[in-house]
């Protein structure tokens, strides 16, 4: 359904060549799939989400490549048509999405605004749809009569998710939807979201820094580092046999809190400066399995039976002919 081909995003800068936040990303999301996009802050994961949703200002960003949604290249659509597509085909929930509600309007009026703009439902139909959506996200339908300040953070984020589903989109992009929330609320929202995704059959691109959380809910996980997707695998496979040293290091940051002995490891160093031209593998300076080639040659994508990995360790041996 969604196909992203060789996508590059560069933040323009007057002083330097700009920051290449997304570097030649390629993937697709089939119908009815929960995909997680994981990486540290500054790896370009949010930029990638925004680029797909067409939310980047073309004056400040240079976006290249294709974003195909059901055969239409979103990048070539005039802004009027893109506007019509948002909410109805693709919608976005942001990290601060719960604070994006208008504080002086009741929740139901914020839903109705979107519905009026994009459909011609009657008032009764709208009310019915709102009640249905609120129950879907485990909120009491009476919440629609509340003002945003009367709801807790978790409830607002639930309402924001309900709002994103109002026009039955095919794809919902969620950028760190639960990061500002507590562990218990986060858990219940993520579980709710994954149930809802399977019941209603839309696709999700769940952007998060939390690999542990994503592994629990997503069917497929893409790991991003320095603007590139370095590993892309079904969640169960990634859990058992992560191949990229970066993914392995990220997994080391988690532990079972009930285990007999618990220790946490981090990843030394910090991600590269994306303003610079990168030579070799960008993860090499922090990598535990670095080889000579990593500093000089950019790794190529290695296809796996399912998914792919971007690392010299797995490059097919070149056949030398005598």
């Amino acid at each position: 359904m969604l196909q992203v081909k060789d996508l590059w995003v560069t933040y323009k800068s007057r002083r330097s060549a700009g920051v290449a936040a997304v570097r030649g990303v390629q993937f697709d999301i089939p119908d009815n799939t929960f995909v997680g996009l994981v990486g540290e802050s500054g790896c370009g994961k949010s930029t990638l989400g925004f680029a797909i949703a067409g939310l980047l200002d073309p004056k400040r960003n240079n976006v290249q490549g294709e974003v195909m949604l059901d055969g239409q290249d979103l990048r070539k659509l005039p802004s009027e048509q893109m506007r019509a597509l948002r909410w109805s085909k693709l919608s976005v929930v942001l990290q601060g999405g719960m604070n994006a509600f208008n504080p002086v309007l009741k929740i139901k009026h914020q839903f109705m605004d979107v519905m009026r703009e994009h459909s011609n439902m009657s008032k009764a139909e709208m009310t019915e749809r709102i009640a249905e959506l609120l129950s879907a996200v485990d909120l009491d339908p009476s919440v629609m009569e509340s003002y945003p300040h009367e709801l807790s953070g978790g409830m607002k984020q639930r309402a924001a998710i309900a709002l994103s589903l109002v026009l039955k989109p095919r794809l919902v992009i969620l950028d760190e939807p639960t990061t500002a929330l507590d562990a218990v609320v986060q858990r219940s929202i993520v579980t709710m979201l994954s149930d809802l995704q399977r019941e209603l059959g839309f696709s999700v691109l769940f952007v998060s820094h939390d690999l542990g959380l994503v592994l629990e809910v997503a069917q497929r996980v893409m790991v991003m580092y320095a603007g590139q997707i370095v590993e892309d695998k079904p969640a169960s496979m990634l859990m058992e046999q992560a191949e990229h040293p970066y993914t392995q290091a990220l997994l080391g940051c988690y532990a079972n809190p009930r285990a007999e002995h618990v220790s946490l490891s981090g990843i030394p160093g910090s991600p590269p400066d994306l303003r610079a031209v990168l030579r070799g593998c960008p993860f090499a300076p922090r990598c535990a399995k670095k080889m000579d080639i990593c500093a000089v040659e950019t790794p190529r994508l290695v296809k796996r039976e399912e998914g792919s990995v971007l690392c010299h360790l797995y490059a097919p041996k070149e056949v030398t002919v005598r």
Partner: protein
């Protein structure tokens, strides 16, 4: 400066002499027509060089306790003593002296730092203000603190401003600033929850190292059970101002016995032990904030366990009386189930 204050000032030497003790501490916020109990008869002590974690969700009262311990607010009832200070009755000047010994580290390293100040200035300020060091002494001490928190090479970091630092470096600067006046107690309110998972271990290790080398006590406030297990010696689980479970961190987290602790543990992202899906979908309450505020008042009025409305094992008794903590010093739980 009064004689008593001078006396207190002269006495300060190496950290590790004072015990923090909370005795029957309660805090009630009065609102229009309702009151909120943020702490209810809380008792605990923190020995020198120990790390005690206060865990719970937002609204559990953990940050309120931090505010009471640092003297930002006064308890409605009960006593807080730290060495010879009676924290609940300190006046503003004594409070300033007290804060030299009790420092806070906040969650958000972005807003806790003055964007105009360089790294060196941020660390030197408390040295000059609290320890009254000369410019040159403070500078030298600041360099040694910078190497403690690994903001090195020092020459490279000293003139940087907060926006030139990464999140982890910023939090290390906040920690550097907190340890500068050589406090005896550090109250760290969610110090890693805004950081990337990959650098959390680094900051937690730093806190652990500091308390070992300087024998400082740490109160570590978090909702993350995993980091509490890794860092703390003792864990205190709070729910709506009540201590529901406490004990050594290994004991409490490996054998949780309060249903609320179990719920918190279940919520930890843990890819190593896949959960039964939908298991935790029900417990989170769908009530408005108004209702949430009203609910704990009932508990405080002696009408039952605060967790009863969310508890999967609730019994009749739970709605009528508040369970008290039972068990030995290694592990105590306030629940009728046991």
């Amino acid at each position: 400066m009064s004689l008593r204050e001078q006396g207190l000032q002269n006495k300060q030497t190496a950290p590790g002499r004072y015990v923090l003790e909370l005795k029957d501490v309660s805090k009630v916020y009065e609102g229009r027509g309702h009151s909120t109990v943020a702490a209810y008869k809380v008792n605990f002590t923190v020995e020198p060089g120990k790390i005690v974690a206060l865990v719970g969700e937002s609204g559990s009262g953990k940050s309120t306790l931090a505010r009471l311990i640092t003297g930002i607010e006064k308890p409605t009832e009960g006593r807080i003593t730290f060495g010879e200070w009676h924290v609940e009755s300190l006046k503003s000047r004594q409070l300033r002296n007290y804060r030299k010994h009790v420092q806070m580290v906040f969650q958000d390293p972005f807003s806790a730092l003055n964007p105009q100040n360089t790294v060196l200035h941020s660390i030197m300020r408390p040295l000059r203000r609290h320890l009254r060091l000369s410019e040159a002494e403070a500078r030298e001490r600041a360099f040694s603190i910078m190497s403690t928190v690994r903001l090195t090479p020092v020459e490279q970091f000293m003139n940087k401003k907060p926006h030139q630092l990464s999140g982890g470096q910023r939090q290390r600067l906040v920690i550097a600033r907190a340890i500068a006046p050589e406090p005896e107690l550090i109250v760290a309110d969610e110090p890693v929850s805004m950081l990337d998972v990959s650098i959390r271990a680094d900051v937690l290790n730093l806190i652990d190292e500091i308390r070992r080398t300087r024998n400082m006590s740490v109160i570590y406030i978090t909702h993350d059970m995993l980091s509490a297990r890794v860092l703390a010696d003792e864990v205190i689980v709070l729910y709506r101002g009540h201590i529901v479970e406490r004990g050594t961190s290994d004991e409490v987290l490996r054998n949780p016995s309060h249903p609320y602790t179990e719920l918190l543990l279940e919520s930890v992202p843990n890819p190593f032990e896949p959960k039964v899906r939908t298991a935790s979908r029900a417990p989170e309450v769908s009530i408005t904030r108004k209702q949430a505020l009203v609910a704990p008042v009932k508990g405080a009025a002696g009408q039952g366990c605060p967790f009863a409305p969310r508890c999967p094992h609730v019994m009749d008794r739970c709605r009528t009386s508040i369970p008290s903590l039972t068990g030995d010093s290694r592990h105590q739980t306030a629940c009728f189930k046991n």
